[in-house]
Amino acid sequence: MTEQRNDKHDAALEALYREAGDVEPDAGLDRIIRARADEAVRNGRSSNRLPWLGGLVTASVAVVAIAVVLQQTPPAGPVPSITAPPSEDAGAFMAPSVGAEARLESESRETRPVLDEIRKMQSSSEAAEAEPSPSASALNARGRSLNRATQAVEQRNTRQSPMEKSQDNVAEKDSLGDEQSENAAEPARSPVAEIAENPELMLARIEMLIANEEIQRARDLLEAFRQKYPEYTIPKKIRETVAPE
């Protein structure tokens, strides 16, 4: 009896709850939630449309970055300090470049004797022009070509700006004993080096030394020539003249 009454009351309570407790969200709230659902659907579609696109883009960027890094040449040396004030001494522009001197000093062993001989040849050829002799006149043409090459080297060195000098100094200091760095710092061969690389010019210098009766110097240069060009045929005249004693 009591249970039936309780069930009846429970049903009435539920009905009361349904009726009195019937509340619902506002229309504005509904719009907000529906808008969020639409937005989620749009975002989900856009993200699911090309799921592999993100990976592809990442891989492409990585490949491009690696290619750029591989394409870059390694730096020739430390970046010269831009804070180092350039020399304001006007004489510094006219004086022989310290960097050029350092570069000349760092020439290869085969080049150095040639350079020395070229410098000596300059004075000797000038003397020869003052007193032309039949034996030396034939060699003066070659001597003048060597002279021009030497002048080109020195002119290039004297034309260097202070900044270039500074770069040369830094590069040369860092490249002492480092052939690879030196080549990187000066990729183009100088005319002196070209002379050393040219056996004909070297032989011409030897012949000039012979003509000037500087046999010992001619012999030293011939030795350097033989080391550099062991397969080269040395003219008979030179062989006989500067043959080892």
Binding site: D10, Y17, G21, P25, I33, A40, V41, R45
Partner: protein, 188 residues
């Protein structure tokens, strides 16, 4: 015409990118979820905030939903967890707001306007629900709004089935006593 698809089908369709599926699902659950939250907190502004948050979580978690989860259980679990967070943030026990009683109209007041009377009944119901202990109110609302069985509510609350049965019995009894005049009151 009602959509023949089940709640789970609709939720999966929505997760797959069908907005119309969400529309059907939302129409089915907008009232139950709102009533649950509203009667649980007894405050419209708080209920609105919670309601938005619950639906946002449902939308955001759509991809995690799996067939067999049971959308109703799943959605009300989210709502329940959000309620727990809400009460925890308030730092006080739910349903102990005495202010709610102050708004209860007197039992003897009768108004000619039926709408006004219904409003009063709703207010009395809300106040009565807020007078229930939280566990009893939670059990009552889950049964009424989510339609969960005793076993489901027991699992959710991590208690025995008999415990839930007892909570419901107490809750209904108190509500009945607060909302309906007893024999003594009727005899007076």
């Amino acid at each position: 015409m009602t959509d023949p698809r089940t709640d789970d089908d609709l939720m999966l369709a929505f997760a797959g990118g069908a907005p119309d599926a969400f529309e059907v699902l939302y129409e089915r659950y907008r009232k139950p979820l709102y009533r649950y939250l509203y009667h649980a907190v007894g405050d419209k502004a708080a209920a609105d905030d919670l309601y938005q948050d619950v639906w946002s979580r449902i939308i955001a978690s759509g991809e995690k939903f799996r067939r067999g989860n049971g959308f109703k259980r799943w959605a009300f679990r989210i709502a329940h967890n959000r309620l727990v967070d809400h009460w925890r943030a308030l730092g006080r026990q739910p349903g102990m707001d005495a202010d709610a009683l102050d708004t209860v109209p007197g039992d003897g007041r009768q108004g000619p306007d039926e709408t006004l009377e219904r409003g009063r009944q709703a207010e009395r119901l809300r106040a009565a629900l807020m007078q229930l202990p939280p566990d009893q109110r939670e059990a009552f609302l889950l049964q009424q709004e989510a339609g969960l069985s005793l076993a489901d509510i027991a699992r959710r609350e991590n208690v025995g089935r008999e415990t839930i049965k007892s909570r419901l019995r107490y809750a209904v009894g108190k509500l009945r006593g607060m909302l309906e005049p007893g024999p003594e009151a009727a005899g007076k």
